[in-house]
């Protein structure tokens, strides 16, 4: 295969191809080979260890023409050279993988017609919601459904700004200035805060979901510039938060499509999408609600989408059915016994029910100390029955086998009404 463009996404793609090559080969049953690379500034020393293409060039035509290249990844972006690369590759009978939102939103259907005429594949998982495999989901995973509504949070910058306004009560202009200073927002932030980037993505997402051709300019679009801390205060009174919501709904006679700030109940799963994350929520006529969440952009999250597409195309262009995607994702599945669960370290929650008397904490803490376990906190709810008193000890990160052994010892103490209940605490899910 050949890679054209070594910016953020191209760099992330090569990183994954280099560092994840064993896993990729184990999934495919064969190795992916980068035969040619093109970049305006390509130098071999810039490539990660393990990537040594036969050809490094500044002319994309050489990549497309290379006899060992059967798939071209267009990672240039924009609608100029990128379009020439994509159309040139298809004309040469090569399949194309692209991460190019602008080009696909504007010209996707035309490009696909060219690919279809040449019998090659056009793969574009990375072109919408880089880190969320929404394309695989809509194209195959829930293809049997009929989508009625798609909601999305599709622009990480504006979602980051709204999250900051909400969490710190800072005014829009100050948050934007800080985001620009940190590099989260562009010097000219119009595309992000005005909703225009989200609009391109929604046009593409609605095309995928509803099977229609929508141009971004036709979509009703409003930005987040006027949303203030005051609005979050009122929204909170209404049990809501505020998000830049991309919405497309099928109704009798057509589609309603819009990008604009909207109030969402805090109890919805969409309301818990914070910061630079993106999310897509679908309601299908048959499959009910599904929801997808991940990084909207970033070199390696988008690189995962590019590499996954390269793997799919690499399998498709091999004629043998043995190279079809194995249902277990990997071509080999060695037997594996899980590790002993006792070897795992976690913070723990221990809940006791006791008959109260002096010295309880002393007895319990001395057992824990004897097992090398540190107490994090002791909690007791008010107004409990002294003869069946529930209270909780939380533990710092501790070896599970030690916790279990301590719990067993504590269960035998004469003041226990029932054996302690021990549960791990999982942070950062």
């Amino acid at each position: 295969m050949g890679i054209v463009g070594l910016g953020n996404v191209g760099g992330g793609t090569l990183t994954i191809l280099a560092e994840n090559s064993e896993e990729i080969a184990r999934k495919l049953g064969f190795r992916l080979q980068v035969a040619a690379v093109c970049s305006r500034t390509a130098k071999e020393k810039q490539l990660p260890a393990g990537i040594a293409p036969a050809l490094i060039t500044t002319d994309w035509r050489e990549v497309v023409a290379h006899p060992e290249v059967d798939v071209v990844a267009e990672l240039v972006g924009g609608t100029g050279v990128a379009k020439e690369v994509v159309e040139g590759a298809i004309a040469a009978g090569k399949s194309v993988v692209t991460a190019n939102k602008e080009l696909i939103a504007l010209e996707g259907v035309n490009i696909w017609r060219q690919a279809q005429a040449k019998g090659v594949t056009l793969a574009m998982e990375a072109s919408v919601c880089g880190g969320i495999p929404i394309h695989a989901v809509l194209r195959e995973g829930i293809a049997g459904d009929r989508i009625e509504t798609v909601f999305g949070i599709l622009n990480g910058t504006s979602n980051y700004i709204l999250t900051e306004i909400e969490q710190n009560g800072t005014a829009f202009d100050a948050v934007l200035a800080e985001a620009q200073r940190l590099g989260y927002a562009e010097a000219d932030p119009t595309a992000d805060i005005g909703g225009f980037d989200a609009r391109s993505k929604l046009a593409l997402l609605a095309s995928l979901a509803f099977g229609v051709r929508l141009t971004p300019a036709e979509i009703y679009t409003e930005g987040i510039q006027r949303v203030s801390p005051t609005d979050f205060a009122y929204a909170r009174q209404l049990g809501c938060t505020i998000k830049l919501l991309c919405a497309a709904r099928r109704v009798e006679g057509g589609l309603f499509v819009s990008v604009r700030p909207a109030l969402l109940p805090v109890s919805t799963i969409m309301a818990s999408v914070h910061g630079a994350y993106n999310a897509v929520w679908c309601r299908g006529a048959f499959g009910a609600d599904t929801f997808y969440y991940g990084r909207g952009a970033g070199p390696t999250p988008t690189g995962v989408a590019v590499v996954s597409d390269l793997m799919r195309v690499a399998r498709e262009i091999r004629p043998e059915p043995a190279h079809r995607v194995p249902p277990f994702a990997h071509t080999e599945l060695p037997d594996a016994s899980p590790l002993p669960i006792g070897d795992q370290k976690r913070p723990w929650y221990l809940r006791f029910r006791i008959t109260d008397r002096p010295g309880i904490i002393r007895d319990l803490s001395s057992i824990l100390a004897g097992h090398g376990i540190s107490i994090d906190a002791v909690l007791q709810l008010p107004d409990q029955d002294k003869h069946n008193l529930p209270f909780v000890i939380t533990l710092e990160n501790s070896l599970e086998s030690s916790v279990r052994s301590a719990v067993e010892k504590m269960a035998a103490l004469e003041f226990m009404v029932e054996p302690p209940l021990a549960m791990p605490i999982e942070r950062g899910v």
Copy 2:
């Protein structure tokens, strides 16, 4: 194609094939034909309108042997007859779609080897998390990544019970009895509340994610029977909720795999999975965090997975590249202009900034009434500046064009410090 088994999932599958046939044909570019159906009690009158197979039988062998059947959907369940159907179909050179969690968790790899040897496809999206296309995601969508951790809420019944204990403070036994009365829990609930159903699903999910073969019996498993309202009260003090968490983590030297109740911070997206919904959270080495959510079961959500698999296999067994999955999911994309956004009805949030004086609400409400718009509530935060006073009016479901026209009229009132900010309120995302 042929369908074996007309229980819940078989029924849901036929419903979708009948009621969604136009959309399916538009996506595929050809029609799916049900040539044969087998059920212990099959009668033609039970089939939905539009499904008229040439053969209706009580003998699955006739379905497998039918010359117009090239894909067999095994929707029987269990590991008895179902195994004969799947192996019989593969032996006859037919591809197989299955929704059978038990069979795949126990025998999946062996069955896949048989399919591979015969050059046919084994598709099993419906076998794990019926309503979530997690199989397409792991097999293709994020295939380029290396999964480090998978967390799941994989059993709807136990999640429903925990949600009820948390929200109503009812004790476990009472919630279980009520769930049984409502048909949400089985008469013998051991598989659900003891974690054994979740364990089978986790074995399969971990096989998909990590490319290893795990047997359910090797997985450390604890049920939710001892989780009480008291535990939720303490968890809340710790900023957490409690979920039956399925976890598989790759560490140096192997995998930690467990099913058991655990505390999760309420700020995590996993904590907002309530009731009968399922969810899977993945952390990849390159793609960071992704999250997938949907119905765990149910005739039509699981039916969507079966039909999507049937569509995938139907495309695969056609040799022409034109039948490859079109990147836009549909083979035809008519141009579509969105409907005028003003025709949409929503509840609305209007935020004003005014110079306070008597008669403000009268003036605003008379404009709204003049546009046929009903006020839902008027909100005002305490201690605001009288000369730049923010307050909010929420509107009942209203036509957007009327709202916009009213807002334009209100913007011209002399007491307005700035034009009103109008945002729709989206319920039930």
